[in-house]
Symmetry: C2
Subunit: 332 residues, 2 copies
């Protein structure tokens, strides 16, 4: 293979020292306009590309960020990942993507690998209860942005949606539209501290003056299949159930399928509310009422937090809590 073009190659051709070429390439100043032109021309001509490994070895900045998530099977994540990646690229960084499959051990592997590749920072959708793992990295000097969980450490920022409020809104909407026997299909992958949706659901019920009967909650994998079996269990436990709040839209879609399969009509017999507002939710029949999470906003906040942590370390950051919105469609 033809060896790479290096600073030295450009330097000898122009007739200056590598250091000067470096200065021009990084626009450090300290060179004349004439040399600048000559260097840039030669860079273009030879197709010089700086070697990020060498640069990173000395500056301790690799120009990369890691995105660590549970998996790409829930459409909410890819749509977000794409936006984050675009923003990272606009800031001149390249993105490592890594899936944890919601497994703390895998998350540990993934972080180890990213760390040894000297990423400048990571954005993490934490697997189960891994806050200690993450704060440990943050303390070792790695900028970490945690989505949908809270922690306090240097080099660490937290961004979440106000899912408790969202869940409460969804619940009140169910009650306001005449449902009174509610159930929730929650996620078996959320540790107690992160069960905001459940807290919001219960709060929404408590706040309501109406005499709704005590709610049923089941916990399932947050997938379509999980939603199907969750709905099955709820119907078994309480055949007269008439309103469901689902952990996310996939679960809600599964719940609607199971309801139909059992001869219940949505929304006539049972109302269903999801969470996330993935693209699919407006395409299914009936179109899903859901708590919309503003992905552009989240990606904006997350990347901004990360870039601030990287470029201005040491400044403590307050946790950010993003508002959510109820989108009423046909399923309620």
């Amino acid at each position: 293979m033809p060896k790479e073009v290096t600073l030295r190659d450009v330097a000898t051709q122009v007739g200056v020292s590598p250091r000067t070429v470096s200065r021009v390439v990084n626009d450090e100043g300290g060179f004349s306009e004439a040399t600048r032109q000559k260097v840039l021309n030669t860079v273009e001509q030879l197709g010089y590309q700086p070697n990020m490994l060498a640069r990173g070895l000395i500056t301790r900045r690799s120009g990369t960020v890691g995105l660590v998530g549970g998996g790409m099977t829930d459409p909410f994540f890819p749509a977000l990942a794409e936006r984050i990646q675009r923003k990272a690229r606009e800031a001149g960084r390249t993105m490592f993507f890594a899936s944890t499959e919601s497994d703390p051990a895998r998350q540990a592997d993934v972080l180890k690998s990213l760390w040894s590749h000297a990423v400048d920072g990571v954005i993490v959708f934490p697997a189960l209860d891994t806050i200690d793992q993450l704060t440990s990295y943050a303390r070792r000097g790695l900028p970490v942005v945690i989505v949908d969980d809270q922690a306090d450490a240097p080099n660490l920022a937290c961004v979440s949606f106000d899912l408790e409020a969202g869940a409460a809104m969804a619940t009140r909407h169910l009650l306001d539209t005449g449902r009174s026997r509610l159930g929730m299909i929650a996620s078996s992958l959320s540790p107690p501290r992160r069960r905001n949706r459940e807290r919001g659901f219960l709060r929404g019920l408590r706040d309501s003056a109406a005499g709704a009967s005590p709610p049923e909650v089941v916990r399932m994998l947050p997938t379509v299949e999980g939603g199907e079996s969750g709905m099955g269990q709820l119907l078994d436990r309480r055949p007269d159930i008439d309103g469901i709040f689902a952990y996310n839209d996939l679960v809600a879609i599964g719940a609607m399928r199971a309801a139909k399969a059992r001869g219940r009509r949505v929304p006539d017999d049972i109302a269903v509310v999801g969470c996330d507002d993935i693209d699919m939710s407006s395409l299914v029949t009936p179109a899903l009422t859901t708590v919309r999470l503003d992905r552009p906003l989240l990606s904006e906040e997350v990347t901004q937090a990360l870039h601030e942590l990287i470029d201005a370390p040491g400044i403590p950051r307050d946790p950010v809590k993003l508002p959510v919105e109820l989108v009423v469609r046909e399923s309620t």
Copy 2:
């Protein structure tokens, strides 16, 4: 920030030279069992992690691979990306992900960035007509696996689905089930060379003895919205149309929506066949008949090809063509 633990730190603590530690860590041989134990213990104790930048600088292997795709909005891609990433990790490599947004210029940027990060190889879903761009990198020594297109160069492998056969199967299925006025919604992002689906569609029609009327083809963005407007155009051009082959499942779902919106029933009035078999396709109503692309198979072939190119360079590889399968559901 606490400085990193290096080979030297381990070495001084154990009382050997850094080179010996390196030998143990990389299991090169040339050390006694006793030192091995001591080194490994100290590695563990100090939490030593090899610095991949330094290692990559000298070995010219960074332990990373790039995955370059058009975007994550089509669910086909994330599902594949996740499998590929898992296999890469099993092979000890970390994955860069980059989206080109189907724009050749962005693809060029992305490849440049990956190249300067010294990726060991890339898997590319090429944007439009960018074969020359890719072969150029391959010739410069970068292992490249191209999905769904063909090229010939050193360090380059091609893997595709036999979409022409798939499209022909879909078309014959439409004809065999009594449809005779067919239309196709193709993709405006496919350059002529890559219009296998269209070729297969037309071949399927030609091969059939039955006197089907000449087909209509429109080209749209391969999205739900594209499918909607494509269906609109087809119905305008030929109101009696009764069978549609869509570029992919998203387009097919859009087409079904548009058909319903215009009062046509699927499958009674119009049959629709998609392509890809994304998860969503079995969830919509009516469930979509589609040409299934075997994602596990593709990810297997693609990663195997890449790892062979990386680990055994110079061996020419024949293009791989993967079989497809028609899944008949309710939309036909």
